[in-house]
């Protein structure tokens, strides 16, 4: 292996690494992909929702054989206090289209399938191999990688780092800093198995229809974070995540938080009688635009979670990952065809191309949101309580007249937060959202 030379090396076999490797191999480049897990997907964790569009750009007919669980026909957004939830549901028959927009997936299975496509395209995929460091020439240009397979090195014109949120290679090579604890979320998740008829009757769905529930409120015990519940074919993914610095500063255990969420009266009946078969934990980079590291340099590019490509507001990540992987690879292919060297100046085209996509446009649009949420905890604690209280006052018929109820609700809000505070929060949110 040490004598072999490649056009490109991709570190990692998650969505961004697979998208990059697939694109390079399809274009006829000689590409090596290195993955530390036993198989692609064995180290990867996600909620998980697959957004069809990003994959369609790569494999238009993926629906023919990709392991998809359910297509989403209903989205629920819940604001929760300790005993209730205020929900917004959107359900549409239009989502039962020929080519659905969103699916639930099981990452270990999906990544394995994606990897089979990568291999079919002609890439060399080597698992159980951890990349330990980048190899550079005397001028500092990256020219290969060193691995933990007897310390073997492999050379290539360019290295694409698709190594995920804990990207040790890039950090240890000084390409980027370790993510600060206040810009990254820790999510824990369990897989709960139920017969498919039970899932279908509980969630009011048929066939391959699926439901997504995203939840926020007192379920995160005052921390910045959200919970979720996704229906798969014969299982339900249930999880909750909060910013790491919040966990560190509180006394809350991640598994205690998950237990409490599962036992919330609005969630518990949905999981009743299920069998848990896996417990997983994963970090999600949520710092957004301002947390983005350098994306390219002499002989290297960074894609996916390692480059902070997550839209925390819309819970999108794997689609950004696949898009950055594809675009990084297209940049490399274009340079390769023109026989131009993989220098920093030439690879800058990656950023130019990315700027034209939804990835950069969305991250830029929401650049103020992570900071807003971190500084305004009332969004996760006070407001959910106020909303629930207002609903309870409004819906409970108890002989009190409606005008008095209206006044009581208004006073609850004013008591919880000053008028100036309420208006200020609205203005700040609007400004960050713009």
């Amino acid at each position: 292996m040490s004598e072999e030379r490649f056009d490109a090396i991709v570190v990692g076999a998650g969505p961004s690494g697979n998208a990059a490797t697939y694109t390079l191999a399809q274009a006829g480049l000689k590409v090596l992909q290195l993955e530390r897990g036993e198989y692609p997907g064995s180290k990867n964790v996600q909620g998980a929702i697959l957004y069809a569009n990003a994959l369609e750009e790569l494999i238009p007919d993926f629906r023919d054989d990709a392991p998809l669980e359910r297509h989403i026909v209903e989205q629920r957004l819940w604001t929760m206090d300790d005993s209730s939830h205020v929900g917004m549901h959107y359900r549409s028959e239009d989502f039962n289209e020929d080519k659905p927009n969103r699916y639930t997936i099981i990452r270990a299975q999906f990544d394995k399938w994606f990897s089979s496509k990568v291999k079919e395209a002609g890439a060399t995929v080597l698992c159980e191999t951890t990349v330990t460091e980048l190899v550079r020439d005397v001028r500092g240009k990256v020219i290969g990688v060193r691995t933990d397979r007897h310390g073997a090195t492999v050379m290539a014109d360019v290295v694409i780092l698709a190594e995920g949120v804990n990207g040790l290679v890039g950090q240890r090579s000084g390409l980027r800093d370790i993510v600060p604890p206040d810009t990254v979320a820790l999510a824990v998740k369990e897989m709960h198995f139920l017969p498919r008829e039970v899932i279908e009757s509980r969630f009011n769905i048929k066939g391959d229809e699926g439901v997504v529930i995203e939840a926020m409120g007192t379920i995160t015990a005052g921390m910045t974070g959200t919970g979720f519940l996704y229906t798969n074919e014969e299982s339900v993914s249930v999880g909750i995540g909060c910013i790491v610095s919040d966990f560190a500063e509180s006394e809350v255990t991640p598994y205690g938080l998950l237990e409490a969420f599962k036992n919330h009266p609005s969630i518990k009946p949905l999981l009743e009688g299920s069998e848990c078969k896996e417990y997983a934990a994963h970090l999600i980079p949520e710092g957004g635009y301002h947390a983005m590291p350098e994306l390219y340099g002499d002989g290297w590019l960074v894609v996916g979670d390692a480059g902070q490509f997550v839209n925390a507001v819309h819970r999108e990540g794997s689609n950004l990952a696949m898009t950055t992987g594809r675009i990084a690879a297209q940049t490399v292919v274009a340079l390769h065809r023109r026989r131009e060297p993989m220098t920093k100046a030439n690879l800058a085209d990656y950023r130019t191309r990315l700027d034209g996509t939804f990835v950069m446009k969305d991250l830029k649009k929401y650049r103020g949101i992570p900071g807003f949420l971190h500084r305004n905890r009332q969004v996760f604690d006070l407001y959910p309580k106020l909303f629930s209280g207002a609903m309870q006052t409004w819906f409970r018929v108890d002989g009190v007249d409606k005008r008095t109820k209206q006044k009581a609700i208004f006073n609850q809000f004013r008591g919880g937060r000053s008028m100036l505070g309420l208006v200020g929060d609205a203005v700040k949110l609007a400004r960050a959202w713009r």
Binding site: K43, D148, S245, A248, G256, E259, N263, A280
Partner: protein
């Protein structure tokens, strides 16, 4: 249920029991550097680690048993500034093996 329930009351071991691991015996991928008194950051891992890998011993030092580690990297991020932890990935193929992920 109160999420502040002490770690001992919610049995994280039972959760980890569901998972598949290939433990690299005698080669832990995470080690805590020798210390007299742990920083606040290091001590917070006793509750913040989602696998419950960290525990405080009778001398008040923080110890790790990395067998159930899910390789999330929380401990690495939390102690990045204090440098109290040496964090590596397990050797290729070892560590947690997600069936679903």
């Amino acid at each position: 249920m109160d999420p502040k329930t002490p770690a001992s009351r919610v049995k994280v071991e039972e959760k980890l029991f569901q998972n598949r691991y290939l433990v690299d015996a005698g080669r832990p991928h995470i080690t805590v550097r020798p210390h007299d008194t742990p920083s606040r950051a290091l001590r917070s891992l006793v509750h913040a680690c989602p696998a419950g890998c960290y525990a405080e011993n009778e001398k008040g030092q923080v110890e790790i048993t990395a067998d159930g580690c899910m390789e999330c990297g929380t401990c690495r991020v939390v102690t990045a500034k204090t440098g109290e932890i040496e964090w590596n990935y397990p050797r290729g193929g070892f560590g947690v093996l997600y069936k679903f992920g």
